[in-house]
Symmetry: C2
Subunit: 240 residues, 2 copies
C-alpha cells in the first residue's frame, strides 16, 4: 500500500484506510506486506510505485487523486510506468453530464488517468476506479475509499485466490518475560502458524494477548490449544 499525503505526515489528519484495506485483504487470503507513506511529490510517488509494483502482486495507492495542485498521484503513477497522463473520454463524458453548464476545467481534471489504465466499475459503484496493471488508485477520503473497496474485491478476490486468514487469541495475566519459553515452544512446533505476543499497558483484565494466525483453521486452533495446555493454573483469562 502506498499512502500519499502531506496531511498524514504532518499529523493534521489521522490515516484511516490502512486497517480497512488490511482486513479486507486478509479475508481474501492476501498478505499485506508493506506500507509506505510519502508526501505529495511526483518523484517520490513514481519511485515507490515502480518499486512496489515490481515486487508485489498488487499495489493500492490511497490519496492524491483529486483535481487540485496537491493531487499528484496520477502523474506519479504515470511516471512510474513511463506513460502519459491523458483524459479518459468516458470519465470526461460522465463529468460533463454531472456538472452540466457549471462544468469547469477544474472539474474535468478528474477525468485524467495514466495512459493505458483500466477503468473498473460495478453495478453499485459506477464512477470508475483507476487501475494501471497491478496498481489500484484509490481516493484518500475514508468514506470514498470504503465505497470503492467492493470494486477491488470483486476484481481480485475471484477464483484462484488463497483461502482467508483466520485468527484466534488467548489473554493472560502473565507477562511476556514469563511467557517467552512457552511461546518459543509453540512457535517451534507450528511453523505454519504466525504467533504474535502483545503486552497491554495498565489493563486490569489481562497483561498479554497472544494471537494465532494462519490459513488453516485446524492448525491455528491446534497451536492455540497446545499453548493453552502449557499454561499454569489460573491461566488463561480468556480465549477466542
Amino acid at each position: 500500500m502506498l499512502v500519499v499525503g502531506n496531511e498524514i505526515l504532518s499529523g493534521k489528519v489521522e490515516e484511516a484506510n490502512l486497517a480497512v484495506l488490511a482486513r479486507e485483504l486478509r479475508r481474501l487470503g492476501i498478505l499485506l506486506k508493506r506500507v509506505v507513506i510519502v508526501m505529495d511529490e511526483v518523484d517520490a510517488i513514481a519511485h515507490e510505485v515502480r518499486e512496489l509494483s515490481a515486487t508485489h502482486d498488487w499495489v493500492f495507492t490511497s490519496g492524491g487523486v483529486g483535481p487540485t495542485h496537491d493531487d499528484v498521484t496520477i502523474e506519479g503513477v504515470a511516471k512510474a510506468f513511463g506513460v502519459r497522463v491523458v483524459s479518459s473520454p468516458e470519465m470526461e463524458g460522465m463529468l460533463r453530464a454531472h456538472y452540466g453548464e457549471r462544468c469547469t476545467e477544474g472539474h474535468l481534471r478528474m477525468a485524467l488517468v495514466p495512459e493505458g489504465s483500466a477503468l473498473e466499475v460495478s453495478a453499485e459503484v459506477t464512477w470508475p476506479t483507476i487501475r494501471h496493471g497491478n496498481t489500484w488508485l484509490l481516493p484518500g477520503i475514508p468514506e470514498v475509499f470504503r465505497m470503492k473497496l467492493p470494486v477491488v474485491v470483486a476484481r481480485i478476490g475471484g477464483a484462484g485466490t488463497a483461502s482467508a486468514f483466520v485468527s484466534h487469541a488467548v489473554y493472560m495475566k502473565m507477562d511476556e518475560g514469563l511467557l517467552k519459553p512457552l511461546l518459543d515452544r509453540v512457535v517451534a512446533a507450528f511453523a505454519d502458524v504466525s504467533v504474535g505476543s502483545y503486552p497491554k499497558w495498565l489493563d486490569p483484565a489481562y497483561k498479554t494477548k497472544v494471537t494465532f494466525d494462519g490459513r488453516d483453521e485446524a492448525r491455528v486452533l491446534a497451536a492455540r490449544d497446545a499453548f493453552v495446555a502449557m499454561l499454569p493454573a489460573g491461566e488463561p483469562q480468556r480465549t477466542e
Copy 2:
C-alpha cells in the same frame, strides 16, 4: 519513521503512533518525510533502517522491542549497522532490581541493545530509550510510545533546530473543481507556503478545507488572506 508489526499490517491493531510523532516533530520544526511499515522480519527491518538512516537526519522505529520471538527490531537495527546484539549491564541491573528473585531469562532479554547504542533517559523517564546513531528505538505500545517522546524531544529539539511549523485553514462550500484556479494563483505567489486542499464528504458545514503551512507565520497568514480575498461573496464559511 519505521513502524514494525504484523498486527498493524493485518489490521488487528490500528497504528496509533504516527500522528503523535508527526505533531511533535512539527512543533520542533522537523519535517516527517516518509513512513514505512514492515512485518516482524529482521531482514526487512535491517534493509529499511539502513536506507532511512542514510538518507534522513533522524529515524524513529515503533514496535518490536519486547522480549518475545516476534520482537526483532533490536536484531534488525543491529544488522542494519553491522553490529552485534549485546546485553546492557546498566539495563540488566535495573531489570534484576525490579524483578528480584522472579527475574527470568525472558525478562533479561529486555536488556538487549545493538552494540554501541546510547541509552537516553530523563529525570521522569528513567528506563532507557535506545538510540543507535540517528536511529531511535521506540516501543509500539501507544501509552509507552507517548511516555518516551519527551526524552526524544529533549535530545533532538535543542539549540540549532528550525522553527516550528504553523498552520492556518479556510473552510468553504465551493468544491475543489471551482477552487482550483484560485489555488493555483496562491500556490504560484507563495512558494514558501505549503497549500493543501481537502474535500469533505457529506459534511453540511463545508465542502473543502484549504490549509496553509510554513515556518514563517507572517507568510502563512499572508497566503491565507490573499486566498480569502479571491473568494466570491458568501465564502469562506470559516477561517482559522
